[in-house]
């Protein structure tokens, strides 16, 4: 909230510098976020936390400044004398509270023969500093008192209140009111209103009605000072989409000790500024003032929580500054809490008061001892897997991305994924973020598109993040960690190498490096289908018959729906499944003792025969003697028969037991050649 420093100074017995005040308040928990110069006054913007509605006034800030600085506080006599007072229920104002839960107190006062007019300069300036424009002297006075004491007031034109009556009640269905901002508000029983004999004249605690507002012709007024239920006010604000300085304070709770005093203060100002006179006795309807709370705190507890060695005298002094009226008995201190400190209820609340006024900066630092090697049930299990994946993929030249978990239904539809079991938001801000994503692929494609549009041509990306799917059996949303990979664009060339487009085998290579490095054994890459991937280009990574993930070329129409006109290759892998088969424990395998022999072989065979089939034949024939099989050439085209392809392999032979002699190598190589000829109809070239 805003506070004029000039105004604040009025409440302080001694002079204080603005910078000192800023530092005192900030270090006591009222952070000054900015100070602006307005007409020679320093206007401070103060962050008031929701537990301290008592600080939503100049007086409240002054109390804190006084507690922090030790400078005594100075109150207007009328306020000092009437604080914690309750007036008579039998005054001359006809007030009826029909909903005592929603309105616990209503103080009404009638003033006659006021002269409505413009406010004097000082009043206009003060309100201006608080960010409120001047209306007329009466309205300005009610606002002035609100900012000064924190108690919202409202002034009605008495003569426009039918039968001069005030009834606090719920609005009836079908009732409406034109508020002073000129807008017609439709009301219902959720809204508490102030009514006269026949109709609502104000939305209680929020805004007055236009029909009874103070105008230049107003002669007699009724000033309201009341206490409304915070929840009732908040709900009405929500329902009406309306809020005000008054409702802001009522929602947070006002000080019962100040309700009567504020009315007196306003009357004093009206007499002084607008020349009216209070007519008859004011009425104060509703509950009696509650007794002040008492709290006991033991000195040991202060040390246990804060770790400071503080004397009982120092604690008592802090409590005195806070008007807590401390009494020490043995190792305990008893305090009485003033009505405005509704946040102080338990000893821990008092410990906080001690800490902040003692100074957080004076509390010593120490490093706690801890119990090492404890394991927790909720310990994160995927950390090392994720870190390993990052290491491998970054090493392979991929960049990591982080995207939003919220996406649109449309995005999911564009992937071709059915909109089933979605985790949808009840109150999304926009359709762009209406569901929790069921796949990482839509954001991957978005990011690829974003980069392509910015002429970033080499894109090799991955993301480790969660996906969200509603679990039908539990009725709860499952959050599962996934890995997505997306590649697209050109490998840039240089003066030695030509650029080339990334393709399926670049992605397959990444997948193989990843899976191998994670120590997954016995996996197979097999054909599968996936709604976003091309039919013949969709591969599953299967471990023990269970799919860990998929990869392949993204369907052209899917890519196009993300505005991508290039070929895109993508993968999505479940970390939970991967976790089950990865083996990050590295064990050393002895280096080979005997040399290996490499033999090349070129074969011509039907195009329909897969490389994996050829590999299997070689492996089966040469058994443990074959250590590696590399394809170093693939040719299809004019030089050879249609429907055929030429493949060239380097096969590495080695025995773990002895050096292979030429004959042994020739024999096994011959065996391989024969098998390829016989079993696959290959021609050896």
């Amino acid at each position: 909230m805003r506070v004029s420093f000039d105004w604040l100074k009025d409440f302080m017995e001694a002079k204080i510098d603005v910078n000192k005040a800023q530092s005192f308040l900030t270090m006591a928990g009222l952070e000054i976020t900015s100070i602006a110069d307005i007409d020679g006054d320093h206007v401070m913007e103060i962050e008031v936390t929701p537990n301290r509605p008592d600080c939503l006034s100049v007086l409240g800030i002054a109390r804190e400044l006084s507690a922090a600085s030790g400078i005594a506080i100075k109150l207007p006599d009328s306020v000092r004398k009437n604080f914690m007072k309750k007036g008579s229920a039998r005054g001359n104002v006809k007030i009826e509270i029909l909903d005592k839960h929603a309105c616990s107190r209503y103080v009404g006062c009638i003033m006659k023969n006021v002269k409505v007019g413009p406010s004097s300069k000082w009043l206009v300036q003060r309100l201006n500093a608080m960010g409120v424009r001047s209306v007329n002297n009466i309205v300005d006075i009610t606002n002035y008192a609100l900012f000064e004491l924190g108690q919202p007031l409202h002034a009605f034109d008495l003569d426009k209140l039918e039968k001069n009556r005030i009834i606090v009640r719920r609005a009836r269905k079908g009732e409406s009111i034109v508020t002073i901002d000129g807008i017609t508000r439709t009301l219902d029983p959720n809204v508490l209103v102030i009514a006269d004999a026949s109709r609502p004249v104000a939305v209680a605690g929020i805004m007055g009605g236009r029909d009874t507002e103070i105008t230049a012709d107003t002669k007699n007024i009724l000033i309201e000072s009341a206490c409304f239920n915070p929840v009732v006010i908040r709900k009405a604000c929500r329902q009406l989409g309306l809020a005000s300085e008054s409702s802001y304070r009522f929602e947070r709770g006002v000080d019962q000790g100040m309700i009567f005093a504020s009315s007196i203060r306003a009357q004093e100002l009206v007499e002084e500024i607008a020349g009216g006179r209070t007519a008859g006795e004011m009425s104060d309807i509703g509950t009696a003032i509650e007794k002040e709370k008492e709290i006991t705190i033991s000195l040991d507890e202060v040390a246990r929580i804060l770790g400071i060695d503080i004397s009982p005298e120092r604690i008592k002094d802090i409590f005195k500054r806070l008007n807590l009226d401390p009494i020490k008995k043995k190792d305990k201190i008893f305090v009485t809490v003033p009505s405005y400190r509704r946040d102080l209820n338990k000893d821990i609340d008092l410990i906080e008061e001690i800490a902040r006024l003692y100074g957080y900066d004076k509390i010593p630092s120490r490093l706690p001892s801890f119990t090492p090697h404890k394991t927790y049930q909720l310990e994160k299990k995927t950390t090392s897997l994720e870190n390993e994946i990052r290491k491998i993929l970054c090493g392979a030249g991929l960049n990591e991305i982080m995207t939003y978990s919220l996406t649109s239904r449309n995005s999911v539809e564009r992937l071709g994924i059915p909109l089933e079991n979605m985790v949808s938001l009840k109150n999304p801000m926009s359709s762009q973020q209406e569901i929790m994503r069921p796949s990482l692929l839509s954001e991957m494609l978005e990011v690829l598109n974003w980069n392509l549009n910015r002429k970033n041509i080499l894109l090799q990306l991955f993301e480790l993040n969660k996906i969200y799917i509603m679990n039908k059996t539990t009725g709860q949303a499952d959050e599962t960690p996934n890995l997505s990979i997306g590649i697209c664009g050109n490998k840039s060339g240089n003066w030695k190498e030509k650029p080339r487009e990334l393709d399926f085998f670049d992605l397959k290579g990444i997948i193989e490096i990843l899976i191998d490095s994670l120590g997954v054994s016995g996996y197979r890459i097999e054909k599968t289908t996936h709604p976003s991937l091309k039919e013949n280009m969709s591969m599953a990574i299967n471990v023990n018959g269970k799919a860990c993930g998929v990869f392949g070329e993204v369907k052209e129409d899917v890519a196009r729906r993300f505005d991508i006109k290039r070929k895109v290759y993508a993968a999505e892998i479940s970390l939970d499944n991967l976790l089950g088969c990865a083996n990050l424990k590295k064990t050393f395998t002895a280096l080979p003792k005997y040399p290996s022999v490499k033999r090349d072989i070129a074969i011509l065979l039907d195009d329909t025969i897969n490389a994996s089939g050829i590999y299997d034949v070689i492996k089966e024939e040469a058994r443990e003697l074959v250590k590696s099989v590399d394809v170093f050439d693939l040719y299809k085209g004019q030089q050879i028969q249609e429907g055929k392809k030429s493949l060239a392999y380097t096969i590495e032979y080695r025995s773990d037991e002895r050096t292979l002699n030429d004959k042994e190598v020739n024999d096994v190589h011959k065996k391989v050649q024969d098998a390829l000829t016989k079993r696959l109809g290959a021609q050896i070239r």
């Binding site: 090493g395 990591e400 980069n451």
Partner: protein, 338 residues
């Protein structure tokens, strides 16, 4: 002439012709002459049929070796030519750029998270998991944020259709962990939180937080200060100053907001710290006894502290990133900088 002698003859002429080839073109002709489809060696392979059974193995082996030998010689000779041809610019102009391999980069948010967790890890904090989709109980009630309390207003929240919500702060992990564990507890949790804020340079509807807390007998506010000061010095540098300001969080009491001296201007005031000299980096406090009551830990026996920080904000401060959207746009020109 015996078959084997014929082969030896071929070997001799081949070696000579390969070494005599004056250029790549001639060398290619030599290759075709010997290894081509109708080349001499190829012919010889076909001719092996006519060799007597006795001599066949020897001849076969010889041909194989011959073929290998010629292939190697051809390759070497070719390499020789290539080197000569390319040497001109390769060797003379060392100012040509090096051939760079593409390097991958982790996302700055990940780096920031890892660095922070590592520092707390050294102080004994273990990383735990906690769900993003939560119930009102974990996000509010058990954290001492009752319904219809003004303190709920600072926590605008996304709800999902089954009545649950997307957590608005990682403090939910305090409840999740304390429900399952007996003190001593010392854990840290990093994850996403959601708030319905319109996206601009400093706001996002989703961001990352790190929550840490410690519960044991004898844990004091002094411990909170000690741990966070250690963290600040390790992460932001030994010279950084730290300031604890009283604040309010429903789940801690006393609560503190923690500022560090601006490491860009050393506290003198600059654009990054809005001329204040201080940067707010985290919220913290002693765990509120009310929270302990919810998880059935006796506040008369145990005390604890908790802290939470925004990873995005710290990441932006650390790297001097001025717009939070850059973190989620994932422009590779941005990603490659980290």
């Amino acid at each position: 002439m015996k078959f084997i002698d014929k082969l030896k003859e071929i070997e001799k002429t081949a070696i000579k012709e390969i070494s005599d080839s004056p250029n790549v073109g001639e060398l290619e002709n030599t290759r075709v002459k010997y290894l081509g489809r109708k080349g001499l060696v190829t012919d010889a392979i076909k001719g092996i049929k006519s060799v007597s059974k006795k001599d066949k193995p020897e001849a076969g082996m010889f041909i194989n070796k011959l073929k290998q030998k010629i292939t190697i010689l051809l390759e070497e000779r070719e390499k020789g030519f290539r080197t000569k041809e390319t040497m001109v610019f390769e060797n003379n102009d060392m100012t040509l750029p090096g051939i760079k391999r593409e390097l991958g980069h982790s996302h700055p948010l990940v780096k920031t998270t890892q660095e922070i967790i590592e520092i707390f890890g050294k102080m004994g904090f273990k990383a735990v998991e906690s769900p993003e989709i939560e119930t009102e109980y974990y996000n509010f009630e058990a954290l001492n944020i009752p319904k219809n309390h003004p303190s709920r207003e600072t926590f605008h929240t996304f709800y999902i259709e089954n009545g649950n919500l997307l957590r608005s702060q990682t403090s939910t992990s305090q409840i999740r962990v304390m429900e399952k564990e007996k003190p001593p507890i010392q854990v840290i949790h990093a994850g996403k939180v959601y708030r319905p804020d319109a996206v601009d340079a400093s706001h996002s509807f989703m961001f990352y937080q790190i929550e840490g807390f410690m519960v044991d007998k004898g844990i004091q506010f002094s411990d909170l200060k000690g741990v966070l000061e250690r963290f600040a010095k390790e992460y932001f540098g030994e010279n950084v100053k730290m300031r604890f300001r009283p604040h309010f969080f429903p789940f801690t009491e006393p609560s503190a907001e923690v500022d560090i001296s601006c490491f860009i201007c050393n506290g003198k005031g600059c654009r990054v710290c809005s001329q204040r000299g201080w940067l707010e980096v985290l919220g913290s406090g002693m765990i509120n006894p009310r929270v302990f009551e919810f998880v059935k830990i006796d506040p008369a026996v145990y005390t604890g502290f908790a802290f939470g920080m925004g990873v995005d904000r710290i990441c932006m401060l650390k790297y001097g990133i001025d717009d939070i959207r850059l973190l989620y746009e994932n422009d590779v020109r941005f990603l490659r900088q980290f």
